[in-house]
């Protein structure tokens, strides 16, 4: 179970404070797939950073009874001068995983060929995204944190990612954060709506979708 209790996050801005998240509570039991729907600027990325632990909440508690992944397919963590192989080894060292197996897996899955041994700064954005996705599959987490729709490569590669994440790892918990209801509807059994830093209760996806669109569009 991952539990957020009255979590608030305030940033200091010019001339005062800006509250991005306001007393957010959320529970994710093992194996649950929960969507967070929110428009741009609703606080989605901040919520992701708090759940991953990249930032600390200003108030409130976050309990992690499950191991939580870094935001899936995050490519910002790449250091340009490191090669794909360096990045695989780095992740393996961080999490204590077997590097030979991981490297074999990334070689097969990311389809980067000889580029895997080139510095990441020479990659196209599609290649970076493929490496990032493959890396995210190297470590077995209890809960995957998915920020925005996974738009990796062409249709065939997307299908591969889908099998890897949603079929082979169907037993894991997932938190999917997106402004795009379609993706959440396909993969989540329940969702909550994030608006102006406040999170609604978790409800069936269709109700969440109705609430989200009612607020987003003025009739």
């Amino acid at each position: 179970m991952i539990r957020l209790e009255n979590v608030s996050k305030t940033y200091r801005v010019r001339g005062g404070h800006h509250t991005v998240l306001d007393a957010v509570s959320l529970s994710i039991p093992a194996g649950a797939k929960i969507g967070i729907l929110g428009a741009n600027g609703a606080g989605k990325s901040t919520l992701v950073r708090l759940i991953s632990g990249a930032e600390q909440p200003t108030r409130g508690r976050i309990e992690r009874g499950l191991s939580v992944s870094w935001p899936l397919a995050l490519s910002g963590a790449f250091q340009g001068s490191l090669t794909g192989v360096d990045n695989v080894y780095f992740i393996c060292r961080l999490y204590g995983a077997d590097p030979t197996r991981a490297l074999q897996y990334v070689e097969d899955f990311a389809e980067l060929g000889k580029f895997l041994r080139e510095p990441v700064k020479h990659y196209s954005s599609g290649m970076q995204a493929r490496l990032a996705f493959a890396l995210s599959m190297v470590i077995e987490f209890d809960c995957f944190l998915i920020d925005e729709v996974i738009t990796v490569g062409d249709a065939r590669f997307k299908a591969k990612c889908h099998v890897e994440l949603f079929e082979k790892r169907a037993d894991r918990a997932m938190i999917i954060v997106s402004h795009e209801p379609g993706f959440i509807r396909d993969h989540c059994e329940a969702a909550a709506v994030l608006r102006d830093g406040r999170l609604s209760a978790v409800m069936p996806v269709d109700s969440a979708y109705a609430e989200y669109t009612a607020a987003a569009s003025v009739p």
Partner: protein
Amino acid sequence: MVSGMTSLGDSLRIQGRVIHALLLREIITRYGRHNLGFLWLFFEPMLFTGGVLTVRSLLHAQESGWPLAPFCVTGYATVLMWRNTIGRSGNAVEPNRSLLHHRNVRVLDLYLARILLEIAGTSMSFAFLYSALMLVGAVPVPADVSQMLLAWGLLVWFSVSMALVVGPLATLSDAFERFWHVFAYLFLPASGAFFSVQHLAPSLQAVAVWVPTVTCTELLRAGVFGPSYTPYTAIPYVLCLNLALMLPGLWLIRVVQRTTEGA
């Protein structure tokens, strides 16, 4: 499967693993794989010390009253240790913010990895340079290696303690970082690298021992020159200072951890 809960022993093991991973990453990032690669780690400070030594012997500088080569090598080695370790800790977090998304990586690890790298680099370069100069007869065989090790240990501890205070302050405030670099530069003449306390006026001697790096430099030189060098030191003072600096250091790191904004 990565477990959610960890005991203290597990935590220490994870922290060791994380720092190891960060160290290797930093070495490749900073020095790359081409030409000398990680050898730059100690070749860089070695070049610096060697260059200064050459220039000064060409100028026939003899102001210290001690043989130039061992005096210079010991002086610059200590300067490089505290200046690089403290100065470079300020930039430990900024380029690595996105790594904080990994649950295991904490702000303290980023600082420790950076600090360890600098210590390893300057220590190795000093050991290599001194050994090389000893082989060609430019510096004497150390009279007391254990005293040199004591000096180096005190210096390393001082550099770590200072880096844990200055690093977070520099992360929190750009103004502080700029101020620190100016201060470190202006502090050089007082650091003990360019004088030996026994040749100072007695009134200055009493002041000089209050500078922590002076104790380290004096001890190091006493280890090199033996009984002919009378070291002026304040070892208990440096020990207390090192210990006392760790508290605000660790507290400041908690502040950075709490306020840092991830990428």
